[in-house]
């Protein structure tokens, strides 16, 4: 853990963010641009699904990011609760809305892909249902994190929810194997070579890498904002309890 503690001080984290953020932002733009160009310009339609297969280039990366964000939050929750890492909760607070947005994109694009291919927008299928639960976990985390005036209580209770909810991640990942789901089994992250032709795998991986850089960029911005929010709360608290101008804070009420 001592390695992580090197970045524990907010100032050092912010200096790191300043240096890396422009790079991740530009890399995200280039990778996503390339992914879209290859995905729409060079990759063929699927022999069964036709052009709807192009929805995969945004559906699958957002699904991967939705899971990755929650896993990162669970690790932060553990780091915050167990090792008292001072930045852990702030980073998890920053990541939660990003993960929630990726989950919304994953569900929406999945429905838009399911309607032409399965003939229905939604099915209470194991994969779809567990991802919907993931969205509720994200929203619950965000609500819980902001529910308390006392930041420590907010941090601790939301961290516990993040850890408890992490059990849902393997359920999502293996839902397509454990149950007989409408949703197809894994095609990339599977034992053996990916079951996708390189003409489709290339844009998919470009978009996935682009989404990862996009996540890093947004996370730096939101963690910076979360740190400022705590600074603001401290300043307001200090001002509320500051002695009146010119007077002395005797701590006792002069009746």
């Amino acid at each position: 853990m001592s390695g992580l503690h090197r970045f524990a001080s907010p100032a050092r984290f912010l200096r790191l963010a300043d240096r890396i953020q422009p790079w991740t932002a530009w890399t995200a733009a280039i990778l996503i641009g390339a992914g879209l160009a290859v995905g729409f310009g060079f990759s063929p339609p699927d022999y069964q699904q036709g052009d709807t297969v192009r929805i995969m280039y945004v559906h699958v990366p957002s699904a991967w990011m939705a899971l990755f964000c929650y896993a990162a939050m669970a690790v932060c929750a553990a780091a915050g609760l167990i090792w008292r890492h001072p930045l852990a909760h702030v980073i998890a607070h920053g990541a939660a809305p990003i993960g929630a947005c990726f989950t919304i994109v994953c569900l929406a694009t999945g429905m838009l892909w399911g309607k032409p291919m399965w003939g229905r927008w939604w099915a209470w299928d194991a994969r779809l249902t567990s991802v919907l639960i993931l969205l509720f976990l994200y929203l619950g985390y965000i609500a819980l994190a902001n529910a308390f005036d006392n930041t420590t209580r907010g941090d601790r209770s939301s961290a516990i929810l993040a850890l408890v909810g992490a059990v849902n991640l393997p359920v999502i990942k293996f839902s397509v194997d454990w149950w007989n789901t409408l949703h197809q089994p894994a095609s990339v992250t599977r034992i053996g070579a990916p079951a996708i032709h390189s003409s489709m795998l290339t844009p998919l991986l470009l978009m996935a890498a682009g989404f990862m850089c996009l996540f890093a960029t947004l996370l730096f911005i939101r963690v910076r904002a979360a740190l400022l929010e705590r600074r603001l709360r401290a300043l307001r608290h200090a001002r509320a309890h500051a002695p009146p101008a010119g007077g002395m804070d005797t701590g006792t009420t002069l009746s």
Binding site: D51, T52, R54, P116
Partner: protein, 72 residues
């Protein structure tokens, strides 16, 4: 020109492919705009409060026990 129409038609699935990308762009784009905007407004608020706050004299800042009425 027909090529453009053919491309936009997406093999007849235009009604599903383009809305999927529109949703992704709107949700993630909206998140990015909101993130940057909230960061800027927080920066302004903190800067304003830091200016308004009476600055403690430099030599007492940071020294342990430099608070008032410290029992030596």
């Amino acid at each position: 020109m027909t090529e453009l129409y053919e491309f936009l038609a997406m093999g007849g699935y235009a009604g599903f492919v383009w809305p999927a990308y529109a949703v992704a762009a709107i949700v993630i784009g909206g998140l990015a705009v909101q993130s940057v905007r909230s960061l800027r407004s927080l920066r302004r608020e903190v800067a304003a409060l830091e200016e308004a706050q009476p600055r403690r004299p430099r030599h007492t800042r940071g020294r342990p026990g430099s608070g008032t009425g410290d029992a030596a």
